[in-house]
Structures are given as C-alpha cells and as structure tokens.
Amino acid sequence: MKKIKVTLEILADEIAIFYDYKKWHFLTINGVSLGEDKLEVQWIFSQYEAMEDIIMFYAECSYKDVIPSIVNTVPSAIISQRELVDMFGVVVEGSEKGLYLDDDSKQAPLSGCSL
Amino acid sequence: MFSSLFKAFTNIFKKPQTIDYPLTPIAKDKDYRGLIEYGEESCIYCLKCEKACPPGAILFVKTDNPSENEKNKKSLLYNYNPYLCIYCGECVRACPKPEEALWQSNKKPVVAIKSDDVNSGWFEIEKLHKN
C-alpha cells in the first residue's frame, strides 16, 4: 500500500491530475481520530486488473477546518463524504448531515473530543 | 416454456416439502452447538474461560460457602447465563481441560419472554463481580 501526504489546499488539484476513470477505482474516504483536536482523513484508490495495487492520500487537519469536496472529479464520492460529516462532526463542502443520525441522538460518535 | 407447465402438473401428486413441526420432531444433529456444561470437580479455577468469552456470559464471584475443591483458593463460584451466551465455543477452546471441566452439549436453551424476568438475578451478580 503506497501512502502520499497532501494538504487540504492542494487536494482537489492533486486528485484531478491523478484520477483517470478507466484506470483507477475509488474505494472510500476514511477518517481516523488522532486525539483531542486532530484528525487524519484518507482517500483510498485501487487499480483495475492489477494485483493489490492500492494508493492512499492522507491529510492532517483539525475539526474546525472545511474539507474540500472531490465530487467534480469522482461522482461517487458524495455518499462517503456524507458519512464523514455524520460520524466526525466536520464540515465538508456540499455535503449535508443526516445520513445515519437524527437530530436528537448523540452527535459525532467517532470524534476524539467529547461533544 | 412447456417444461415448467409439465412440472407444475406433476407437483400435484408429490408430498409437500415442509415438515409440520412441532407435531413431527426434527432429528437433532450430534454436533449442534448448544448449552455449555460445567464439571466442578475437575476445574482448576484458572479463569481463562471468563477472559475469553466475548459477551461476558461466564462470571466467577466470591461466595460464602465455597466448594470442597482444593484448587478453589479464593472461594469463587461459577455463574453462567444461557441468555447472554452466543454459543461460539471460545470458552471450551481456552480451557486447559476441555472434556472434563467444560464442554458443549447439543441441548437447546429454554425459551423465555420479557415477563418471565430471567435476568434480574444476573444484574446482581454483575455488580458483585465489579467490586
């Protein structure tokens, strides 16, 4: 598995240059909590018809940052972005809340800080 | 197309495939995963089954009248909840004496409903275990 570090500002351009829809298969977006106020977000791709060729872009940010959206390049990322908003309580461009959790339940269950 | 019509016609003369349980009993397999049974005389009180159980259905708590087993140095008593158990068999695999002290039979548990209130005694045991 190959890991590439990016920052939030250059993310949309990097993915637009890298992604070729006939060669790379988008898997999912993942978030890992690194403590009280830091968060690591991962974008995972794999190659079609190749043995175990997986590439992961990762970026470190805080819970108050606005994460850019990659739906213009990868149309099927919209559903993973909505899950990230629900589970961690962060803001992603163009993605609304309410996929799994209702308004009266405990919000952001996977985030490190207690909300 | 006509083979299915022919098959539907011959189905009139066949027996149904279902069994009218509970009038006809179903044969029980000898390897079916059922209740866990305990043989107190061979137990060495190592507590490995309590650590291995995923939902926590086996608990050892202190008691006032312990058994006569010489290995029972801390006066513990074995408690098992068949309604919390998932019948996976992890406790039998973790036990150092799997056929003599702890084994899995093929008996089914007794079915209970909420008004039978079978778990109120278990909550007391959990409180004793935490202390």
Binding site: M1, Y21, K22, H25, F26, L27, T28, N30, V32, S33, I44, S46, Y48, E49, A50, M51, E52, I54, M56, V74, P75, S76, I78, I79, S80, M87, L99, Y100, L101, P109, L110 | M1, S3, S4, A8, Q17, D29, D31, Y32, R33, A52, P54, I86, Y87, C88, G89, E90, R93
Partner: protein, 361 residues
C-alpha cells in the same frame, strides 16, 4: 400548476425485503429525480469495536452486522489482524475457509434469484428455488453447527474439521444441486415471464459503470472486469478453478445470468476442494498484541468489502473502518432509476440485491 409529483417507494412496501426509502419525482409515470434514505438500522458497530470489546472478540461482533454475508465480514477482520500479528495460516485452513465462503455465495445468490422471480409474478419458481436452497443450508449446518451465524473462523485458522464421511455426503449433494441449477438456467433464458419481461430494463452501460464505480454482479453484467478474487493473494483461488463471469447487456436479465453462472462456478470450486483437501493443522496459536495498520479487501456475494484496522499495541483497537458493497453502489442505483417507468421500480430494486443491514452499520 406543478408538472411533477413525488411518489415514495417507501420503507414499507409490499415487494420490498429491506428497509430503504426512495423518493421519486415523476412526470407522467417516468422518473426524473431520485432521493434516497438509507440508515434505518444504524447500530453503531464501528464505535462498539473500539470501546466495548477486545481485539480477539471483535470477529464475533462484526459477523452479526449482516446475516447473508456474515462469513465474509468475520474472515476479512481476521485476515487483517493476522497480518498485524504475523501469523501463518496452514494450507488446510485456507481451503476450508474458501469452502465455506463459496457455499455462502451460492445460497445468497439463490435468495436473490428467487426474489426476482417473485417480483415477476412467477411464484411457483420462487418456492422451487427456496426449497432447493435447503440443501445448502443443511450442508452448512453439518459443517459448522448452525444455519446462519457460523462462528467458524478464529485468529489462526478454523474451528472444525471435515472428515471423510461428511465430504462424501457433501459431494453427493453438490451433484444433485448442479442438475437443478442447470434446469433454472433453461427457465431463465427461455421462459417468457422471466426473460422477455426483463430485457432492456434498468440498463447500465459500460462507460457509466466506470464513472460511478459500480462493483459486484452489477458491474460484471455491464462488462466491467472487476472481481476481487482475481486481485488478492492471501487465498489460493487460481489453483481451484476460479473464472470471472461477465455479460455485456447490463440490464436485469444480464444480472440474473451472471449470478447463475457464478453459482455453477462456485459448485465446481467446492467439488475441487472436497476432492483434494491437504493434510495439516486447522489452528495455529498466536502470540502478542497487534500494532500498526492494515487494509484488506474481499469479495462478498454483493461486491467488494474493505476493512481498515489500526492498532497501537494494547488490547483495544484504535480504528476499525468497514466499507460495505451496497454502500458504495448507492450513486449507481440513483442513476439507473432515471428515465424508467415507475411500475418497473420494484423489479429493478430487487435485481440490485441490496443488503441494508450491511449499509447502515
């Protein structure tokens, strides 16, 4: 006056097996807008895996996310932990794991095919396929002790062995099942209720399958060559006769044919395993605690399943991320509905084979 009306294919519907809700915006019976709601059975499994259970009990927790793909979840988590602990699994245990995985695939595809027949109005075929599915359920009960939740896989191998008498019985049952499935193939291609009614409906072209990242039998029916069993090396699929099945039309009929071909290929693989089981141990003990991160992919009956596990050297894990197959197909589902008649919507939804307990974990 508005030109469009909103009709729900609601969470309660007479032909729906799963709790999902779609809101269609229709203009004169044609669908022009789709809004979906999945998440009626969210239980918070990812959070429970890092707070309530230790790393050796989580294999039993994730198996209870779904009833039809229980063995695939449990196997993916176990392989991810074995990569972190450095455990070598014996060849016999790998063969037995593939045996149960393929039996699970057969019975899940039979359930989907019988539900498709029920939607077409052909109830006699629905009953026939369900009755033949009992042959597989009895085999699974003899092998593992239970019909649906198997609890067969632990860290380092499997829990029960196959003796000679059981192997002969299973080979005999697989022969009987193969004859019946060839009979279904005949019905699904020639019978007017099942083939003519479904041709040309709910189609997904190859270019759209690439764009929306479709997976599983949905993608293979459009011609996209994506099967995770071709791309992994931790289970020996190539030496057992695995072949990828594709079709080029992309409509409901193509998906049924792909599923039937996969059942025949799985029966052949199971017979090859039972004829040549190697010698060896079924369980190797493991030591130590997991540390690091690992990512594992497997082929569930509905598509590609991914597990990401991060551990820090203690008994409680840091993060368990589960990506289920139906979840990543939701953008493709929403696209296929556009332009179809509202009356065909239940049949199209049944051909996707959605599994909502996996989606809303």
């Amino acid at each position: 006056m508005k030109k469009t009306i909103n009709i729900p294919l609601g969470s309660q519907h007479i032909s729906l097996l799963e709790p999902v809700r779609f809101k269609f915006e229709c203009e004169n019976e044609k669908i022009i807008g789709v809004d979906s709601d999945v998440g009626f059975v969210h239980r918070g499994v990812e959070r429970a895996c890092t707070t309530n259970f230790k790393y050796d009990g989580i294999g039993y927790v994730v198996a209870r996310i779904c009833g039809l793909c229980a063995i695939t979840h449990s196997l993916s988590y176990t392989v991810a932990i074995e990569q972190l602990l450095g455990v070598e699994v014996s060849k016999k245990a790998k063969y037995l794991r593939i045996l149960l995985l393929e039996l699970d695939r057969i019975h899940s595809h039979m359930l989907c095919l019988s539900h498709t027949c029920e939607n077409a109005g052909f109830e006699a075929m629905f009953m026939r396929i369900m009755g033949d599915r009992e042959l597989i359920m009895e085999m699974q009960e003899l092998l593992t002790g239970n019909r649906i939740q198997f609890d067969y896989i632990s860290i380092g191998g499997v829990n029960r062995d196959v003796n000679l008498e059981l192997a002969k019985k299973m080979l005999h049952t697989l022969e009987i099942l193969k004859e019946k499935v060839l009979g279904y193939m005949d019905e699904f291609t020639n019978n007017w209720s099942l083939s003519l009614k479904f041709k040309g409906i709910g189609a997904l072209s190859l270019d759209e399958a690439y764009q929306f990242n479709a997976i599983g039998p949905l993608a293979r029916a459009s011609g996209l060559k994506l099967d995770v069993r071709n791309e992994i090396s931790y289970l020996p699929y190539k030496e057992l006769g695995f072949m990828m099945q594709t079709h080029s039309d992309g409509d409901i009929n193509a998906r049924n044919i792909v599923r039937l071909n996969e059942i025949l290929n799985s029966i052949e693989m199971c017979s090859n395993i039972l004829l040549g089981i190697p010698e060896g141990e079924i369980l190797t003990k493991s030591k130590g605690k997991p540390n690091g991160e690992s990512l594992v992919r497997f082929e569930a009956p509905r598509g590609e399943l991914m597990y990401y596990v991060k551990a820090n050297g203690s008994a409680m894990l840091d993060r368990v991320r589960i990506k289920t197959p139906t979840f990543s197909c939701i953008p493709a589902f929403s696209h296929i509905f556009l332009g179809e008649n509202y009356a065909d919507a239940p049949a199209i939804l049944a051909s996707f084979d959605p599994c909502l307990s996996c989606t809303a974990k």
